[in-house]
Symmetry: C2
Subunit: 265 residues, 2 copies
């Protein structure tokens, strides 16, 4: 088995080291990760600049490639140029902090797995639901179990697996839930300040707003001490909304436009 590991916390992040430790005896492991932290970059890619790479060594041995780009860049570059052969799986993480609820949209960790999936490689993102005192051993054990499952069961077409692990000791885990992305999100507040030259700037802060999030959501699973497994896709079409627009079909049509006023320019 050949694995590509990436993340959004950067190549020197302890979560990536933990992932490497967890998986290195199971597979041939390749690492291509951002040179520095690229959290909350969403599915950004670098299109107007070249991507620079640097070999990173740990304890005297080659550890992986650092790329001055986003997580999605790293996966594209790994598959397109750096890896001699395509990996069997792309594994992104272990992220310090949950990627659940609306946060999934902003997540660079998930974005690396999305990019792997777009490029045809079954992919998984894994995050530990804490910002301090991480219990890496729990997440490492879950990572091993999940990679074993990937190997035995595979993933459905165009589907990536988003794994969130509660930050508790292994023997306190309640089990595993198959979940959907919750709707809770941060409510931002902005604090306005003025710089010494009189220019305004704003610090964003916020708190989690728990919206309707039933038991089958990722956020609730974490809350209840369960490992959360969410299958994610990348077709953003809201199919249920298609009927609403049926009558918009005549919105712009040469025949109807002739009768109406022209745009002022």
């Amino acid at each position: 088995m050949r694995l590509l590991l990436s993340n959004d916390d950067g190549i020197h992040a302890p979560g990536l080291a933990a992932l490497h430790e967890a998986l290195r005896d199971m597979a041939e492991v390749h690492i291509v990760a951002p040179e520095y932290e690229r959290s909350a970059v969403g599915h950004a890619i670098t299109i107007y600049d070249p991507l620079k790479t640097k070999k990173v060594y740990k304890d005297g041995a080659f550890f992986g490639y650092a790329v001055d780009g986003t997580p999605a860049d790293c996966v594209k570059l790994a598959l397109g140029a750096l890896l001699p052969e395509p990996p069997d799986f792309v594994i992104s993480g272990i992220n310090l902090g949950p990627n659940a609820g609306i946060s999934v949209l902003y997540s660079g960790t998930v974005s690396a797995a999305t990019e792997g999936t777009i490029l045809g490689i079954p992919s998984m993102a894994i995050s530990l639901a804490t910002f301090k005192d991480p219990v890496w051993d729990t997440a490492k054990r879950v990572a091993r179990e999940m990679v074993a499952r990937l190997q035995s069961d595979g993933l459905p077409q165009e589907t990536l697996l988003n794994v969130n692990v509660p930050n508790i000791p292994l023997d306190q885990l309640q089990g595993t839930r198959i979940t959907r992305m919750g709707r809770s999100r941060y409510i931002e507040t902005f604090e306005r300040r003025t710089d010494p030259r009189g220019r305004a700037y704003y610090w964003m802060d916020g708190e989690m707003a728990l919206l309707e999030d039933p038991v089958d959501t990722d956020l609730q699973a974490l809350e209840d001490g369960y490992v959360s497994l969410t299958p994610l896709g990348f077709d953003l079409t809201r199919h249920a909304a298609l009927p609403h627009f049926e009558k918009w079909r005549d919105a712009v049509h040469p025949d109807s436009l002739d009768e109406k006023d022209q745009v002022a320019s």
Copy 2:
């Protein structure tokens, strides 16, 4: 009617000026847009730096706020701090270049509309399907029609409207299609070079790979000369894949873990 306009090509982009011209006699228009081009940023937000703002004037009159952040940042900041009252709609564009198929994932233009939707404001992204010789008048006319429809019909819950306009004169438009996001994507190639200090860097290039994209997709609508209207959401859950994972429920459970080997650390 009160509108918030944003984009990802930056506050000085001709597409934003065109959008402003198209809509200013229909509504009270507010503009909050990135200070410079932020294409392909996906749904990135700025979390570790403050957001700086600058008032931009055009022809001696206040035009809008430039923000040194992403399109999603602009919408968050507009709603959270800059606008005296919430807008009725967020309109993002007019983007120079289509936002259709897989490109939607990387699009800053769409991301501004997604952020508006997350924050509870019905939102629309509009893009002109060309990178050169834009026929702004066609896109302006479509923008007016669509905003009128938004006003009369609204949008379904948690749904944004992604509008793509073919770059042809108004009288050559074939009509309007209600579409889903196509699957076509760029196939990237990387050209490796070495800088004067011997460090490797890579230029990404690519060409569009047309995958299975039937008549009801955004890309095919553009190809056929139709305005494409795609309802998009932000729930990335792949519901159809949930059954695949049913048997993974026992993947990590304290009882089962006891019997197995521990993670080497």
